[in-house]
Amino acid sequence: MDPRPYFHLSFRPNIKLVSTVRRFTDEFYRRVLAEQEISARLALATHEMLENAVAYATDGETAIRIELHEEKLVVKTWNRTTPDRLAAVREMIDEINRTADADEYYQTQLVKTARRTDGSGLGLARIRAEALMTLGYEIDKDQLCILATTPINVQVGAS
């Protein structure tokens, strides 16, 4: 049996539950990672990923899984969504990954968002620049999985 800690939660889309899940996962991070800074970064990323997953879910469940590997931690969220949303996410993450300087990309997004009237468009940029996590995605038909990864070099506080 794989002894590494992980956390997996599925819930019906309800935006009001996102903060509850963030606090819950924050506690998980604090328990398994003996480092407050990385826990705070991960909690921020988790919140942004969950809000996106819930906000753009077309039906069914939203799920989150946090996997603790030997040298990295991966947060994954799943939701079913529209073709437009799938295309938008693919474009945003590809653009983020093409940009060498995450802070510069973030500043560009801040300028754009100041005049936007729909959504913030900042969630993914914030995960990259503030939570210092790399982003990826997997698409299977209408199912979207977002992956955010950070290296960890800290002692695991619980097993």
């Binding site: 935006i15 009001k16 996102v18 903060s19 963030r22 800074e37 705070a40 970064r41 909690a43 921020l44 919140h47 942004e48 809000e51 906000a55 802070d103 973030y106 500043q107 801040l110 300028v111 968002t113 100041a114 005049r115 936007r116 959504g119 913030s120 468009g121 900042l122 969630g123 914030r126 620049a129 503030e130």
Partner: protein, 125 residues
């Protein structure tokens, strides 16, 4: 003088406002998530209007007890700064942020805000 602010829309956020001469003081505490977004929208709009009416020189925003802010609430602050930037220079007011260095989101997000509007924003920890 206490400033009347729009009523609360979320259970986790508290906002208090005060006018002190040509300055407006605004204090946030709790958490700013999706439920708080309408309230933050309304509060920031009201503060901007008051600042113009008063010809305020500065708005001080105390975030030291605000434990979390999501990106949609953060966007409200970005748009607010954009609105102040769009004013004639004679009508612009400065925004001073009081931050808590122990809260990770504040270190990163407020630094980004400061870079976005470097002539308008100052940060004190």
């Amino acid at each position: 003088m206490k400033l009347d602010l729009p009523s609360s829309t979320g259970p986790l956020l508290r906002v208090e406002g005060q006018i002190d001469g040509k300055a407006i003081l605004l204090k946030f505490s709790g958490e700013a998530d999706v439920e708080a977004k309408p309230e933050i929208d309304n509060v920031v709009r009201k503060i901007h209007e008051e600042a113009l009416k008063l010809e305020a020189e500065r708005v001080e925003v105390d975030l030291r007890q605000l434990e979390f802010m999501n990106s949609s609430c953060f966007k409200v602050f970005v748009s607010w700064l954009g609105s102040v930037q769009d004013l004639d220079a004679s009508k612009q007011y400065r925004i001073h942020l009081l931050s808590n260095p122990n809260l990770h989101w504040q270190r990163r997000s407020l630094a980004a805000l400061s870079c976005f509007a470097v002539d308008l924003v100052t940060i004190t920890t």
